[in-house]
Symmetry: C2
């Protein structure tokens, strides 16, 4: 152990050592019991086959380490009256967190049937990884958790998200050495460059170096001590090493190290809170190197197990066929001496029970880990104040996200004091035209600042790093602990966090059925710099498929909005920021674009989520001949321009224009709560007329949503079909046949009543496309008549 | 600069310095020209507005640094006769790589119209970021590139992928300090723990610390020198710092440092190749700290530009409205003194041209960067040798991936000498039951090895790290340089590389239209440990949506296979490993499961991709009453069990069983080359009978693929609908209503001819489901009659 200060190296008295070790034994006992036992929970009769679960599911390897850390955190929480939550990166070690929250009493608080006696322990054991019971990982069902830990890599970034703006909180983040190999975890160490000790809490990373993954050693366990130390110094931490396999020795080391770490954290905070932020401190972190499956069987069937990857999951099974395994299990569990830990009733004996903190200081009952308890509504200005004047549709020009930026600026301003709102983006807030927020706050930056720097401050509330995983993880941690946020991202690269979104959506879905979990603020994405306007970047930056990914998740969780202009974007943004327990995806452009709806119309349109645009339609006196539908800003523009062409050439054609803001309205009502009824869908789209649908994303998504509707067979969708490069804005839509000319040709090809002129017009349009191609290849820009088109009616 | 050896610190003579600087000036000149100019390429007449592009698109900031590195790499390639490729992490700096490959002559070799004279330069300038021209990033169109660089974070992992098994190759990997913040990049530094100097090449990372991203400083530029140095020492490198803004000084530093780095690489390799691998060496890496937009305008409109984020893209535009900007551009370009660099003809003068390497030593013409040129077929054993005996369908039990593992083992064995095949997985090769490969090779591990370690060796060809991004990136780099690979992954977590897959698929799509790019081996995924068998892990590990993501990409690139058993998996695996330029996704289970097809039948079935299983059907004498379709191993099992129930209760019902291996057969032929013709689809699925489709993934994917087919309205799909937890295998299908009982009820609800017994049978099935629920909650395992069901006919 590297000791930085002259604190005592054996801070525990013999009595304290004996007790903390006994507490740890109790947690280990309960962990093994969960994995293995159906009955005979306290081994008060000889262990028989029928006491053992028929299917053994769970992960032992990481669990004793998680239990060890929990016991020691309990000690310092009591000693220093700390406000602490525990993030279990190796969340597979579910039995450990369940055991500890049971020992401290919170499990019984939330699940009355799991009482603090032998019967409760039996139920605790049986329910684990058992049908109708609880999952094998740390999960939403586990009190004190904000982190599932099934998908590895996010422990540290969640911890920082939780610590921001929670000055009194210390987040203990246990990082597994397996997950430390993931990309997300590797970059999340740099989160310390964004943490301000004045008004943020602290994160105490504990790298649990148990050496092995499923079948391999871990990288960090097999580099030299010097490299490991350098790595964490390089990441900006002061690493302390706690290493060994003799419990008594490691207990003393861990206690001494935690005393130092807490002292350092408190000293850093005191200094910063008295004198203000001066420079980024070197925060402590702990490397805990102990055996995998510590205290488990040393060998199974003659093969090394403790301290090796073989103890990763269930160290041995096959109990029905190998009776010696039954004996091994009994001996193992009895090695914890349960008779010394639990009284006749099966209740943890008082001298151990009192080692746990009380009330909300218990890590399982800390309200920060049930963020909905602490959630306050955002103070919101009236979004209508930011309305763009739209006297006539399709005339005025505005940049939608730039308008939304002013709204976000004032939300930021109104909630500065409550410090419960942050805006995140991978270096793109200004690029995405949300720069107005920098009028009232800065970019968060706790690393070096130079005089020429622009809006950088350790007090900033705009968080930018070129890491989508950090942005996503920080935001998740922030929301899960009861705050609000807004994440803007280039549309194509949000796929980098596809898997993180999955896990958050799954968390939200599960919490809906857990009564004691209170609703949290929705996770709000603004996807901009989208597929149709990647002028600088081209093909690699073109992918509108995140919404396809999102709609695979439970309908009750996901919402997708495609506001066509600034006022609709304002209305949608307001709605999303007020919502709870959803993932809201908003897709909107940042470039100067035509505006269609004044604020009243925008609110009405967004409230319905879909509607006929009467002002653009000419079917007022009956059924239309064709429905021109659109979703997304550029498809809306091209649809209206197509309608203009249709009107010029076929004035007698009755065209209905339908715009979709809320994509989920297209699904049947049975599939999504926002879905239109069959009748409403038929009223809007007719039951038998052709529908030409211009869509922002991949066209088949619209088919997928609508295939059950009556008129689906007449639906023809244009969208992005993976054609693109660095070219002009209009050429992008032409390459994907989403442009006005193709849309008109789609009508011509389908609607029979257009008569003899149809072929002639089609030829004209094809000529126009050739003219366009020649023009851009000569001049490098779109033809003015296309670029400057406005709605002429 | 930290110098490790007494090499001279000013290795360049004045003459050499003058020349290398002139070469750099030429590259910078050509880079600026590409961004700005339409005409007047050598500024031989005064610059006028009409010479400037109307739309200015591109990224200047990183470009001078990329050019600087290129010039210095040219020098050491010539000096030491190196075999080197260049990976431009900041691939936005496309103009730099285009300029350099033009200067060295490779650009003209591949694009004859871009000649080495003034006319060629004019075309070079015009085509950049121009409609009908080339993209703004380093792209497949750029000679010498294997790396698009539009999506940041993969430079280093691609470099290592390229270096594995290429002992003579030095991969210079320029890492941008922006991309260094991404998760993928942050963990890819650890790739050095997998590189063996005996038989792998070297990677020389060059961190280009130009300090800024789009609008922010970079994290690594704003930590102390000590932390930065510690970080790279911690990652296992020996960092050298080259820092400054005075070109003459930085040229000398860079030359000296490259001399040292090359000497160290060669010394490490010599030592290892003579004495064998003993311990992981400390490879050199370079930190190059130079101004962003170096040599560009110092200020624009009074605002700091050189050495600041304002030079990230186009440092100034608006040339038509601000005439002083035209002057600024002319002065800037003339500062490079083009008249000294290009002769009257517009050709680079000989004394500079000779600084570039010749032939394949040119980084733009290195065959490793056009891997198809070097690609050799894998030696493949006859996959039929590994066949599982299937005397009767649905009787034998086998673990499909375990069988495939033996096939992979022998492929590995046959190609050991050619060293052109690797197997990758995030710590899951054995867990995914491919462990047989370890009979002939080991896991690659160049970090510390302990005596108890299991199949770890620096010579291993199985690559495991708990980082899907590293696995994906290594494999991409390996394939792009002309080798073969196979990536097995837990199905749910392959989403972590969704975005990387996107970029690779886009690369493949683009290369199909580039005649000089030769086809490379396909990227093969085996997704196993799939949604239906997550007994240990539960909900967080359940997501079959990667195939939804994949099918959004171009049909000519993607293939998706769902082999129902071991023999079909063998046939599909054989096919995928022989294919070129695709992304193949295979989804198959690893658990013991029923086997259906003997090898002959499996080959026939896989060749067609879809087929009626006559042996399971009883409609031989005419049209069926219902079609029971299935795709995926578990859905196939449940479908057959449902058919069994149907036969017992409704022996007169004519049931057709259809199994789909190749998912793309379901699309119309117009949408995918594997798609069935409308006639064939109708023959299989009928035009009017109900189809009950049991699908492995999200059910709407089947609708999305089939919505254009005649009988789509009668199609009813069951699949995963985000219901799951840690429970029994059969309970998982019940939770998602994909089980045999629900499938039978789906038939009962739809097929009218079942008569009076239907309601009675349905009640029986509902009772069965309740009985199942009670059984598993009591015993924790599935009822034997379900667990042990076999096809009884």
């Amino acid at each position: 152990m590297t000791l930085a200060s002259p604190l005592q190296t054996k801070p525990l008295t013999d009595e304290e050592l004996r007790k903390i070790n006994a507490y740890w034994r109790a947690a280990n006992y309960l962990s093994v019991g969960q994995i293995y036992l159906l009955d005979n929970p306290l081994l008060r009769e000889p262990l028989k086959l029928e006491h053992v679960k028929p299917r053994l599911l769970g992960h032992w390897g990481t669990t004793p380490g998680l239990n060890f850390i929990y016991a020691h955190l309990n000690r310092v929480i009591k000693k220093y009256d700390l406000n602490t939550i525990y993030i279990a990166g190796p969340g597979h070690g579910g039995p450990g967190l369940v055991a500890n929250t049971y020992l401290e009493g919170t499990y019984t608080k939330y699940y009355h049937n799991i009482s603090q006696d032998a019967e409760g322990i039996q139920k605790l054991f049986k329910q684990f990884s058992f049908p109708g019971g609880i999952p094998s990982h740390v999960a939403p069902e586990t009190p004190g958790s904000i982190h599932e830990g099934g998908e590895l890599g996010y422990a540290l970034v969640h911890a920082f998200g939780a610590a921001f703006d929670n000055p009194d909180l210390i987040v203990a983040a246990v990082v597994g050495d397996g997950e430390a190999e993931t990309g997300a975890l590797a970059t999340s160490w740099h989160s310390n460059k964004f943490l301000n000790p004045v008004h943020d809490g602290a994160v105490l990373p504990i790298l649990h170096l148990n050496g092995y993954k499923i079948a391999n050693p871990t990288v960090l366990a097999r580099i030299s001590h010097e490299e490991l130390e350098s790595l964490f110094v390089g990441y900006g931490y002061k690493p302390y090493f706690v290493e060994g396999d003799d419990p008594a020795d490691v207990h003393q080391q861990m206690a001494a190290t935690l005393d130092i770490a807490i002292a350092q954290i408190q000293s850093i905070q005191r200094e910063a809170r008295v004198h203000g932020f001066t420079e980024r401190p070197q925060w402590p972190m702990i490397v805990l190197r102990t055996p995998k499956g510590w205290t488990g069987p040393k060998e199974v069937d003659g093969k090394k197990t403790e301290g090796f990857w073989r103890s990763h999951q269930v160290p041995f099974g096959n109990i029905s066929k190998q009776p010696e395994h039954l004996k091994l299990l009994e001996d193992w569990m009895k090695s914890y001496k349960p008779e010394e830990l639990f009284d006749a009733n099966g209740t943890l004996i008082p001298e151990l029970a009192e080692l746990a903190p009380k009330g909300h200081r218990r890590m399982g009952d800390n309200p920060h880990a049930n963020g909905g308890l602490l959630l306050c509504d955002l103070k919101m200005p009236d979004f209508q104040k930011y309305a763009v004047d739209v006297l006539k549709p399709g005339q005025a020009i505005a940049e939608a996200t730039q308008v939304a930026g002013k709204f976000l600026r004032d939300i930021m301003q109104l909630n500065q004091e409550s410090r419960n709102f942050r805006i995140l983006g991978p270096d793109e807030t200004v690029s995405n035209r949300l720069g107005a927020v920098l009028e009232v706050t800065n970019r968060d930056w706790a690393a070096q600042i130079l005089p020429e720097d622009d809006h950088l401050s350790p007090d900033g509330r705009v968080m930018e790093i070129l890491s989508e995983t950090n942005c996503q993880g920080w935001l998740e941690g922030y929301l899960l602990t009861g705050r609000h946020g807004f994440f803007s991202c280039y549309e194509a690269f949000i796929h980098i966090i596809d898997s993180m979104f999955n896990q958050h959506a799954k968390w939200l879905k599960t919490t809906r059925d857990i009564p004691w979990r209170k609703p949290i603020a929705s996770l709000n994405y603004l996807l901009t710099s989208h597929v149709w306007r990647q002028d600088h970047n081209g093909f690699s930056h073109q992918d509108p498929g995140f919404i396809d990914h999102v709609v695979n998740k439970k309908a009750e969780i996901v919402r997708v909005y495609l506001p066509p202009d600034a006022n609709t974007l304002l209305s949608v943004t307001d709605h999303c920021l007020r919502s709870r327990n959803y993932v809201n995806v908003i897709v909107a452009g940042k470039q100067p674009a035509l505006q269609y709806l004044n604020m009243d119309a925008a609110i009405k349109h967004c409230t319905k989520g879909i509607g006929i645009w009467e002002w653009a339609s000419n079917d007022q006196d009956g059924e239309p001949d064709v429905v021109m539908a659109c979703a997304g800003d550029i498809p809306t523009l091209e649809t209206l321009a197509a309608v203009d062409i249709l009107r010029q050439h076929f004035p007698e054609l009755k065209v209905r224009v339908v715009n979709v803001v809320d994509l989920m309205t297209l699904q049947p009502k049975s599939e999504h709560p926002h879905g239109l009824s069959e009748k409403d869908f038929d009223t809007i789209f007719t039951t038998d007329k052709h529908i030409i649908f211009a869509f922002h994303g991949y066209p088949w998504l619209i088919h997928r949503l609508t295939y059950r509707h009556t008129n689906h067979n007449q639906l023809h969708v244009r969208g992005y079909k993976e054609e693109g490069t660095t070219t002009t804005p209009f050429d992008m839509v032409v390459l994907n046949e989403l442009d006005r000319f193709h849309l008109v040709m789609d009508v011509i090809d389908r609607v029979p009543k257009l008569g003899y002129r149809a072929a002639y017009v089609k030829q004209q349009l094809q000529d126009k496309l050739i003219e366009h191609k020649h023009y851009i290849e000569r001049y490098g820009d779109d033809m003015p008549e296309i670029r400057d088109w406005k709605w002429p009616y």
